[in-house]
């Protein structure tokens, strides 16, 4: 089974943030200062931080990259979220570029085909935006700019903005409610642990659903055309936004387990890879297809079935090794030899 590493900062400074916005301020303080040395930022979904059958001392892709590239005067940090969609990716870019110290020189994105089924910026990230007026303004400006070319994305971004603003104005009644919930939590244990119970309940429902409807990790999940289009638009917008801010972009097709059946419909997945390559070329981003770089024995299990997306540490090493020359090529003008 995969494990998600502890979020608590250890003795060494964290080199990743997958708090999904919940503790963004805390973790982003550890982003190596981009004014002092070139920064590479790795962004994507759970593959970036999950380690199957984790052993003490295991490192994730960004840590391996950071250890290797520090010698070349570069630092690597990763931000990831489970099921990250491309609007959230765009959100990360907007947040990163607010300050020069967090603005990377190279933005590396692991693009996962099935995450193109997800939309919306989740609440914990909207909360971040609610507390940062400059982010709110930047997001609004972008949504207005995108209105002409990508109206659906602009509309979605406006919904995100509205959701964030609704959370910003914490009225007196909401403050009373929050205090009351905290007070009840101290007295009634079930209230205190309701988030954990909810997660447990949903996992049970998820497993029951799979059993009743015979749904497996390999059950085919076709593209949801509107959501797919929205994610395509968001990725293009992200690349353009990065370039406007002087950030180079490297997009890669994430490694997949060849021994496991995927839920992908072959023609649709092939179309996705082709689109990503073409988009990278058109938009001036570097592209790599890493789907085969992780060896068969480096994968693990998920709910007793072969996990097609998350690997052991060896998979992180393989991914880092595949990314290393690409990053070096992109950052050739910044390398300390």
């Amino acid at each position: 089974m995969q494990s998600e590493r502890s979020l608590s900062p250890s003795k060494v400074a964290p080199r990743y943030d997958w708090s999904v916005g919940a503790e963004q301020q805390k973790y982003w303080a550890y982003i190596p200062d981009a004014r002092k040395q070139p920064l590479v930022l790795l962004d994507g979904m759970s593959q970036i931080y999950a380690i199957n059958e984790e052993q003490p001392g295991d490192r994730v892709t960004s840590e391996i990259l950071d250890d290797s590239l520090q010698g070349n005067g570069m630092r690597v940090f990763s931000i990831a979220a489970p099921n990250l969609d491309n609007e959230e990716l765009l959100f990360h870019l907007h947040a990163l570029t607010l300050q020069p110290e967090t603005t990377p020189k190279l933005f590396v994105v692991g693009v996962c085909f099935d995450k193109m089924r997800n939309v919306e910026v989740r609440e914990s990230m909207r909360d971040v935006m609610a507390g940062v007026p400059a982010l709110d303004s930047a997001w609004r400006r972008s949504s207005e700019t995108l209105q002409g070319e990508f109206p659906e994305l602009a509309q979605q971004m406006t919904r995100t903005l509205q959701g964030s603003r609704a959370r910003k104005t914490v009225r007196v009644d909401q403050r009373v409610e929050q205090s009351l919930v905290r007070a009840v939590s101290r007295v009634v244990p079930v209230v205190d642990i309701r988030a954990d119970l909810r997660a447990f309940l949903f996992e049970g429902v998820y497993l029951l659903r799979n059993r009743v409807f015979n749904i497996k990790t390999s059950t085919k999940r076709p593209i949801l055309s509107d959501r797919y289009a929205l994610n395509q638009q968001a990725l293009v917008a992200a690349v353009r936004y990065a370039k406007q801010h002087g950030i180079r972009v490297l997009v890669y097709v994430i490694p997949l387990n060849r021994t496991a059946d995927t839920p992908y419909i072959t023609e649709q997945y092939d179309g996705f890879k082709k689109w990503l390559e073409q988009t990278a070329a058109t938009e001036g981003a570097a592209f790599a297809n890493l789907e085969s770089v992780v060896l068969d024995q480096s994968w693990g299990l998920l709910y007793g079935q072969p996990d097609f997306k998350h690997f052991k540490e060896a998979g992180h090493v393989a991914t880092a090794n595949a990314l290393m020359p690409l990053i070096r090529a992109q950052m050739s003008d910044s390398l300390v030899r």
Partner: protein, 462 residues
């Protein structure tokens, strides 16, 4: 204050305890008014003065009306005065926007325009009171009683739309009843379950479909069915909590829902859906119009369409709401004329009953498209997607989990509808005494676990 917040339950506990600790009816009335105004001003702040203005004006107008012999002209003026704030707060932005040029609209958009929560409900209730008085009803002479009648929080924001005749005797004399209070608690838990477990769970899937830029047949189908569930669970949950809360204070409020989706005709649907609004429309719009046009049968038939159009516009200033009302008006007119036999309530052939149920179900669910859509273009888009089976079995936005959830909830609701009489009978049996408490405890635990952020009720926007 939302009914699904911890704040509300702290408030309810205090209000109920304070009420029963006080003995004198006047003290109880003062306490409940204070509670009601606190409840309203908690989220509505200065709008509490709009509510108080309604109270004072309608109390005075009712008293004055009762003293007049020729009440017609005065009644028209005071009804107009009652409806003006409603028009200003609810319809003015739309009217002005329609009249302004693009630049003016942009300017208007920058001006904040909030409406007092529940104004549609308390404006309609006040108007009904005045009409009742003009028809010979006795006005509520005590300002204290009238204020309690108008401000009582359980019916203030989203109904049930209670009549003065239903409340008059309860305003002063109420007694504690342990069984009724236990039933009230059960009802509140049921309401919380409907809202937090069902409505809030299905709402994102309805949103997925309605936010799709190019909905397919399946998106439109499941989006419509999801919203049908959401709006029913949401509004009936609100009514359950409102009626249960009032019951804890010894009040008996009228029912608002009675298994509406089990209806076998549009007419029966409206006898089961938002019952206090439909009887308001019947008694204060439809009946007077029918009487007015009694010598003209066609116009009399058209009265129902007009009345339902008004019902639609009551929900909001938009073409979609008007069309929703017209849709139901036409269905009711058809029900009363050429489809009378088809929708006959006394059908004794099973397949005909099922057919009437099926047709009613379909037309009611289709009507929710008008209700939920953000624009006429979206209505057309949804109907086109449904009736052309756009994109076959492909989906653009609705995820598999949404389809499974909507399917299971509808199946569950259908089973519950078929067994509702059996369940009602079982509740009176001794076995229920043993089984119900753990069932309620389980429900409550589920509510606590599923409760995240309290979300607003759909009908709060009206």
């Amino acid at each position: 204050m939302l009914f699904t917040t911890y704040s509300y339950f702290a408030f309810l506990l205090l209000a109920v305890a304070g009420h029963w600790l006080l003995r004198a009816p006047v003290a109880r009335a003062v306490w409940l008014i204070a509670c009601s105004l606190t409840f309203y001003s908690f989220t509505q702040g200065p709008f509490v003065f709009v509510l108080l203005a309604y109270v004072l004006f309608n109390w005075w107008a009712g008293m004055r009306l009762a003293t007049l012999t020729d009440r017609g002209v005065f009644l028209r003026w005071i009804l107009l005065a009652n409806l003006l704030p409603l028009v200003y707060y609810k319809y003015w932005p739309t009217i002005v926007q329609g009249a302004l040029a693009e630049s003016g609209r942009a300017l208007l958009a920058t001006v904040p325009h909030a409406a007092p929560l529940g104004i549609s409900f308390f404006a309609f209730q006040a108007s009904a009171y005045l009409v009742d008085v003009s028809r010979g009803g006795t006005p509520i002479t005590s300002l204290l009683d009238f204020t309690l009648f108008k401000t009582f929080w359980a019916q203030l924001v989203a109904g049930p739309i209670v009549r003065a005749s239903e409340m008059r005797d309860q305003l002063r004399f109420r007694t504690w009843n342990t069984n009724a209070s236990a039933a009230a608690c059960g009802r509140i838990v049921n309401g919380l379950t409907k809202k937090i477990v069902f409505s809030d769970l299905v709402a994102p899937f309805a949103n997925q479909a309605y936010q799709a830029a190019h909905p397919t047949f399946l998106d439109a189908l499941f989006g419509t069915l999801a919203f049908g569930l959401q709006v029913y669970f949401d509004f009936s949950a609100y009514s359950d909590i409102a009626i249960g809360s009032a019951q804890l204070l010894g009040f008996k409020l009228p029912e608002n829902f009675d298994w509406p989706y089990s209806a076998r005709s549009p007419q029966e649907f409206w006898q089961r859906w938002h019952m206090t609004l439909s009887r308001w429309i019947r008694d204060y719009v439809f009946m007077p119009l029918t009487m007015h046009y009694r010598r003209n049968p066609v116009a009399a038939r058209g009265s129902i369409v007009l009345a339902m159009a008004l019902c639609g516009v009551w929900h909001g200033a938009g073409w979609t709401f008007l069309l929703w009302g017209l849709w139901h008006g036409l269905l009711l007119a058809a029900n009363a004329t050429f489809l009378r036999r088809f929708f006959s309530a006394t059908q004794d052939i099973a397949w005909r009953r099922w057919m009437a149920f099926g047709v009613t179900f379909v037309v009611v669910q289709l009507s929710w498209i008008f209700f939920r859509a953000g624009s006429l273009a979206q209505v057309v888009d949804f109907f086109t997607a449904l009736f052309t089976m756009r994109a076959g079995l492909q989906r653009a936005a609705v995820r598999e989990n949404g389809i499974i959830l909507v399917g299971l909830l509808w199946l569950g609701l259908l089973v519950a509808q078929l067994n509702r009489e059996r369940f009602a009978a079982w509740q009176n049996k001794p076995a229920a005494l043993i089984a119900l408490p753990p069932l309620r405890a389980l429900q409550l635990a589920l509510v606590i676990v599923m409760h995240q952020n309290a979300t607003s009720f759909v009908y709060f926007q009206f």
